[in-house]
Amino acid sequence: MKFKVSQEPLLQGVSKVSGVVPSRTPLTFLYNIHAVLSGNELKLTASDGDVFLITTVAVEGLEDGSVLVPARPLQDLLRELPTTELSLETSPEQHLVVNTSKGQFVIPGEEPSKFPPAPAERPPQQLSFSADDLKSILDQTTFAVSHDELRPALTGLLMQFRSGEMRAVATDGHRLVKLVKTGFQTSVTAEAEVEVIVPLKTLSLLTRHLSGDDVAKVDVYLASNRVVFDTEKLIITSKVVEGRFPAYDAVIPKDNPQLLKADVERLSSAVKRVSIFANQINRLVVMQLNPGSMKILAEDPDSGRRGQEEIEATFDGEPFEIGYNAAYLLEALRHVPCQEMEMMLGSPTAAGILKPAKPREGEDLIMLLMPIRLH
């Protein structure tokens, strides 16, 4: 393999894929980047065993070939090099030799066949989102993904294509977020149903890429055993989580007649202040609801501390009290994408449904919060 390239695009390419390289693993081949040169296109692949990141760099190709080279020394070297023209080639011993006008750097590589190949075929089911839309979906849902390995199906985000709409659902058993997205391009017929559970790590890598790089559009390909996100600059191919996602529609209350409306910022600030006085184990804050106002209370019987604050709110039901874990409530409020939120409540023991008063266009977002039983 032999090619010429500027330092900058090569560093960008290497940095894009090396984010997935594990820092500590007994599977040493995963420390490497698999580089394949074909014509004037250098394809770089890195993986942690579950997720493959693939990008291409335009180079001046001189001799096709491939090499498996450790990511860290290559990235460190490229970072330290000035913006200059580089000439790279592999030696017969599978070493990568980086030549600059004044220096030569040799990185011992490995036999390329040691690197497991990423699935080559694209799944046929394609959905296309603008980068902003997909980022918004991920921002508003992934916080509720569970970290409990004993319930693997909850450790990812359910992406479900049904009736022409895409549903993103996450839950950890205490809260559930469901976002229904419409108005995107798709190759899937409206009757078809496809669903996968995407691991949280894959979504974190995708979010980092969407935030850091200038991405306009993301094509998402769904198959029963993998999901592919193609941003044109980076292809993320990921395994999906085994198991059946719970029947989430069954736990969403159909009849929560009492409506609470409040300013998100004011409510968040009040909950933050009052929760300082909450029991440190269950973080219980109580919402005392009356028509026209709402009082937030917290009390820690162990230390004798207590706090309360009243804020403006509209509530159209009978006066009652409901308790929530302050951390869950605050996290839900943080992900409401507008100034005002609506909360539909049933009884003090029934799940409350939190929604933005003005959802983003093409999005229907609901967050379900399980209350803490009072007394």
């Binding site: 007994p26 055993n225 989580v241 198991g243």
Partner: protein, 376 residues
């Protein structure tokens, strides 16, 4: 040939091959039998076979999957063995430290090179909850290819209770195309809740001739191979260790016989010297020495019961003269009871008993078993 690197074990081999060929392989297997008999080798060979893209009749050795198995670095294979807490960033989570990852990678490389070699992480006493959590995460991802993933939990008797309970979830609700292989020396060593969910496959102690042949093929002189194969008692991992350090094998052999000799001789100066030598050994080596002591006493029992016609059955043939003298000088000895006392001492050591105290107690018990009276 399937399981081609497995030595002997015709019963286990036939059972495993039949399960694979009849598509009746259960999701959880318990390979149990003596140390060094090839349980982990069989698990690795099984995983290699199941993942070979060509190999209905056995792994082809040529495809990408077979090549990856050569270094034991295969995305469909997970190898779990007892680790010390310091190998993990946090024993509750499975993330390895840099030193932990590097040591494990070296262990796997050695195991890939020599499947019968022992895969032991220094100081690794237990399989930790963090390791099982990492396994659950690994198992929870659907594979890109429609080939089985195999997880090997070597020395599953070392599962901490909480780790065993976490593993139970995987046994109760296994993901599709996933096979878990546990290994242990005895079925009884495994938590009953796990044992009852596994198909047991028994492994026999390797025949001395098989070990001898293996060591000869691996460069040992015939006489050395014969001596080491007897000394390791059918444990090929130990045989390979001894072969790589013959002076250690001799030292352990001598020490094992001296434990009996000085226990009966009751010479305080000699016993002190023995104790000092004993205290310099690590726990794993102390257990090996005691196991050799047990084989010495077993030989004595055989010789006592069957006389000269039993000579061919003896493990310590190279010390036959000394053994015969020992049996003649102790006509009333209950060698079976003495062996039981050595096994007990091993259990005490594994249960974290003080090593010098264990040896002192053992010496008194050996004296009592041989002379039927309390030592003076």
């Amino acid at each position: 040939m399937p399981l081609e690197r497995l030595i002997d074990q015709s019963r286990a081999r036939i059972l495993i091959e039949r399960m694979v060929q009849d598509s009746r392989l259960p999701h959880a297997l318990l390979f149990w039998g003596p140390a060094g008999s090839g349980k982990s080798v069989a698990a690795i060979e099984l995983a290699r076979w199941l993942n070979c893209r060509e190999g209905l009749a056995g792994p082809c050795g040529q495809c990408n999957s077979c090549i990856q198995f050569k270094s034991l670095e295969h995305p469909h294979f997970s190898y779990i063995l007892p680790l010390p807490g310091k190998a993990l960033v946090n024993s509750e989570e499975g993330e390895l430290t840099e030193a932990g990852a590097s040591e494990l990678s070296n262990i796997f490389a050695r195991k890939a090179e020599e499947p019968y070699g022992s895969a032991v992480y220094p100081g690794g006493q237990y399989i930790l909850i963090g390791q099982i959590r990492a396994l659950l995460q690994w198992a929870s991802k659907r594979s890109f290819e429609d080939l089985p993933r195999v997880a090997l939990i070597d020395r599953a008797d070392r599962l901490r209770e909480e780790a065993g309970n976490a593993l139970l979830k995987l046994l109760e609700e296994p993901p599709p195309n996933f096979i878990l292989v546990l290994t242990a020396q005895s079925q009884e060593d495994i938590l009953p809740t796990l044992r009852s969910r596994c198909q047991a496959v028994e492994f026999d102690r390797l025949r001395t001739e098989s070990v001898e042949r293996f060591l000869t093929r691996h460069g040992q002189q015939e006489t050395d191979a014969r001596r080491l194969s007897r000394l390791c008692g059918g444990d090929l991992s130990r045989g390979l260790n001894f072969a790589s350090q013959p002076q250690v094998a001799d030292e352990f052999h001598e020490l094992a016989i001296n434990i009996v000799r000085h226990s009966l001789g009751r010479n305080p100066i000699e016993f002190d010297a023995l104790l000092e030598q004993w205290n310099h050994l690590g726990l794993a080596d102390q257990l090996i020495v005691l196991e050799i002591t047990a084989t010495w006493l077993r030989d004595a029992a055989v010789l006592q019961a069957l006389g000269p016609q039993a000579v061919k059955r003896l493990m310590h043939l190279d010390r036959l003269e000394l053994l015969e003298k020992f049996v003649v000088n102790c006509p009333e000895a209950d060698f079976a009871a003495a062996v039981a006392k050595v096994d007990e001492a091993c259990q005490h050591l594994e249960g974290n008993a003080l090593a010098p105290l264990t040896l002192l107690v053992l010496s008194r018990e050996l004296y009592r078993a041989v002379y039927h009276r309390k030592p003076v």
